[in-house]
Amino acid sequence: MLKRPRCRSRPFACPACPAVCSFRLFWADYSCPPQSFDMKQYDNRAWLLVLPALVIVTFVGILPLIAVTNYSFLDLFSLNNPYWVGIEWYRNIVTTERFYSSLGRSFLFSAIVLSIQLPLGIWIALLLQRSHRFVVSTVLVLITIPLVVPWNMIPMIWLNFINPNVGLAGRILGWSGVGFDYKFNAPHTWIVLVVMDTWHWLGLVVVPSYAGISSIPPAYYQAAAIDGASRWHIFRFIQLPKMKTVLSMVLLLRFMDSFMIYIEAFRINAGGPNGATAFLSLDLGEEIQAFNYGPAAARSIVYFLIVMTVAWAFKAATGTRKPLAIEPVR
């Protein structure tokens, strides 16, 4: 099969294929009109420019991974006295019930979080698009604030907020008589985690979505109006395709971050009550803090493989998907 050259055009420079060729660097398999192709200069000396970045990434990413792969086959009761145990740690992980229940809980958490945050964020972005400029910048700044809160302070802020004695939400809930108890009632812990995560990360959905929507030229809407397209059709065939590339990135980031939620979940209830919020990363954190180097190393490798799989699946899915825009408003 002929290898397609890369598409260099960016959405606003290429009216012929809006929303089609955006992540041009590695999602290059989109069917793109020929005029938007532009072969980059082939020159392997470019490696020299990439080299410094690669050296640092190797040093803080690849080398540690190699080291930990080595550790994952050893019993390191003390670092000077390693003892080869083969795949025992891996076997321990994949044969225990605990791993699968944690995996299930992590998936469930990600599913809940994504199904709330993505639609909500897109909806807010759509509302913003028809708002005054001042409102837009105010809302965008407001919604970005939780993103800059250091991660270990987020649970602190929320624990304080829902504290039944001093917290505002805690006192209101106590006064209303719901019997809210995030410490011993598992569904309540889940609610706190989901609400907190939404508070923290909603901005990361809204800002890119808004950016995607606001890059649509007005001519599209005028054409849609002439065609008598409904609000739903405009959303489905103009706005959503235009947001698709940003959204797929957001989806990936939000999925990974919620799937491996650590410090926030740990601080709220340390995986309790009764392990009801023990996610994957909490198990790993526990082992690291107990200095079980061998098992923790094996677990790190298993989780890294999960990350690789997700990234690969994501790349495969976005790379082959045909564009949603069926050019209704060309």
Binding site: Y42, P52, A67, S137, L142, V148, I157, W199, L284, F304
Partner: protein, 265 residues
């Protein structure tokens, strides 16, 4: 799907604003309240005592300094190595470029907790623990991919003739970078610095594991404040101070915030 009327929109935004601000408001209020019994200040009343205590605590002041040091170092590193790499990705194709980009993506989404143990073991062996340099280096694992992404978008938006003209004028690659490219993508550098700053500032897992005895960042200094009789007011005052740089950064880039994403895509 019907368009929401103006009043409806105002209500939605008001609810959203309240949802974002109310948990924070409580933190800010408590930071201005004396929460432990002290001479001369009634408990539970307004006072600046918490902020005064921070000023008088060398440990807390040092923590703030440590945080600022490693974040600035990290931003400088990421921009320094990210700019040439982004230029390479934007202008050239080379053997393994896609694979390299995928590798960067993988490291960006790898949760820090997964890398924390190997990094700790490695850095302990070469003596990079308990120093801001170690943290600045480690944060590159997710910040270098981000800086390359964002800068690559901005550089691609510059027409290639721009480079060619400069080279015809006799510029070398280095002088082209400093004289022409950096001024041309200055907004991109600003947006990149913002994201690197933010992600380095909020990260705690690696920052914690690399600072067991010294060089503690602000986030760890706050953790250390918890004890049998925690001064909640002091904790909240530190939290508020930890928010200040981030909010200042948001203020500076508020008009470019959305643009960073548009150009990136």
């Amino acid at each position: 799907m019907k368009s929401l009327p103006l009043t409806g929109r105002i209500i939605v935004f008001a609810v959203l604003g309240a949802f974002i601000l109310v948990p924070l408001a409580q933190t800010i209020i408590i930071s201005f309240v004396s929460t432990l019994p002290r001479d001369g200040i009634p408990e539970g009343h307004f006072s600046l005592v918490n902020y005064r205590n921070i000023l008088h605590s060398p440990v807390l002041k040092e923590a703030i300094l440590n945080s600022i040091t490693y974040v600035l170092l990290n931003v400088a590193l990421c921009l320094g190595v990210g700019l040439p790499a982004a230029y390479a990705f934007a202008r050239y194709s080379f053997v393994g470029d896609r694979q390299l980009f995928f590798l960067l993506l993988v490291f960006r989404i790898t949760p820090t907790v997964v890398l924390s143990l190997p990094i700790f073991v490695l850095f302990a062996q070469i003596g990079l623990v308990n120093t801001p340099v170690g943290i600045a280096l480690v944060h590159c694992v997710f910040n270098i991919p981000i800086s390359i992404w964002i800068l690559e978008g901005f550089i691609s938006a510059v027409p290639r003739e721009f480079d060619e003209t400069a080279f015809l004028d006799g510029h070398t690659l280095v002088s082209f970078f400093f004289r022409h490219l950096i001024p041309a993508v200055a907004p991109g550098i600003g947006v990149t610095a913002f994201f690197c700053f933010i992600f380095s500032w909020v990260e705690v897992v690696l920052a914690r594991i690399l600072t067991t005895t010294g060089g503690k960042p602000i986030t760890m200094a706050i953790n250390a404040l918890f004890s049998f009789r925690t001064d909640v007011g002091l904790v909240m005052a530190m939290t508020v101070l930890a928010l200040v740089p981030g909010i200042a950064m948001i203020y500076f880039v508020r008009n470019h915030l959305a643009k960073g994403f548009v150009i990136r895509t």
